[in-house]
């Protein structure tokens, strides 16, 4: 199975990088944001960290209009 991971790196590295950009941007925006329409800062951070892809998207849609 270790062989396989090596083979899959060309896919895994871009996937991880893209997700990282999405998550980090959302986190930076959450930390900078003062007033929240829904929920609060801590809950949004948890949502963004736990739900990858969907979490940041939800944040951008609901809080950043």
């Amino acid at each position: 199975m270790n062989m396989d991971v090596q083979e899959y790196l060309p896919f895994l590295i871009p996937l991880l990088l893209l997700q990282l950009v999405l998550t980090v941007t959302a986190l930076v925006m959450i930390i900078r944001q003062q007033q929240f329409r829904y929920l609060n800062r801590v809950v949004w951070i948890i949502i963004v960290l736990v739900l990858n892809i969907i979490g940041p998207i939800l944040y951008f849609v609901l809080e950043r209009r």
Binding site: Y8, P10, F11, V21, I53, I57, F60, V61, R64, R65
Partner: protein, 256 residues
């Protein structure tokens, strides 16, 4: 034209500040990487599961077709849904925050608002989709190096369908003004109506829905390129009609 450029810039800046444009690009790129990846690892995963359950079945190696199949199923479902959720509020939030009132009363032509919004959504969709399709294509030719029929046309089918969805978003926005949820529901309603109508085989061949249901069939060569011509033309015409209706309706929308 002098009104449209600043408006377009405003949309670009806005979508940069709230990161929606970049988010869509990233999500579409993820779909582009994920699809060939899924096609590649699916036989391995199945093999492990089969071994565990003691069944020995010959699992065929995945092909370029599997990769494109994954791409189209991801794009037509996840990609379009995320696009509608992220950009469905592009016009409704202007109503709910009354941001257009000042501009319109100061002489901004209402037609220009809709044209710019439509052009902007089409730009986002086109750029995102091209990125996604290119990524998927590059991975697929690198890992499989097989040719398929009418690849560009198959990619174009989903793209045209996306333009159609954009026109529904805008029309629904002008009908329900400040309710984003109503816009979401009307897109879903249109898709459901088309799905129900396509039960009848004669009608199915002419509906926009035909475009996102038959990408892979076109690639395998089961249908000819000519057969998707009519749904393509009909979808494009419908898109233009819906956009014209949007402009007509938007001129009558009360704003104060």
């Amino acid at each position: 034209m002098s009104q449209m450029l600043p408006l377009f810039k405003k949309e670009l800046i806005e979508s940069w500040r709230n990161f929606k444009f970049a988010a869509i690009l990233i999500v579409f790129a993820i779909i582009g990487v994920l699809s060939p990846f899924t096609a590649l690892i699916l036989p391995d995963i199945l093999g492990v599961v089969m071994d565990d359950s003691g069944v020995t079945v010959e699992i065929p190696e995945s092909t370029a077709l599997d990769s494109y199949m994954q791409f189209f199923s991801n794009m037509n479902q996840m990609g379009l849904v995320i696009f509608v959720i992220v950009f469905g509020s592009i016009l409704t939030h202007e109503f709910s925050r009354n941001t257009l009132v000042n501009l319109v009363t100061k002489g901004l032509k209402r037609t220009n608002v809709i044209v710019v919004k439509a052009l902007f959504l089409m730009l986002v969709w086109t750029v995102g989709y091209i990125v996604s399709a290119l990524v998927a294509y590059v991975y697929t030719i690198y890992y499989w190096d097989e040719s398929v029929n009418h690849l560009v046309l198959a990619f174009a089918m989903t793209w045209v369908y996306g333009l159609f969805i954009i026109s529904i978003i805008l029309l629904a926005s002008t009908l329900f003004t400040n309710s984003f949820i109503a816009v979401l529901f009307s897109v879903v309603a249109v898709v459901i109506v088309m799905l129900m109508a396509s039960i009848h085989p004669d009608v199915a061949e002419y509906l926009p829905q035909y475009l996102i249901g038959n990408n892979v069939v076109l690639l395998t060569g089961e249908i000819e390129a000519g057969e998707v011509l009519w749904p393509m033309i009909i979808t494009a015409v419908l898109t233009l009609v819906l956009l014209s209706l949007t402009i007509l309706r938007f001129k009558k929308v009360p704003m104060n």
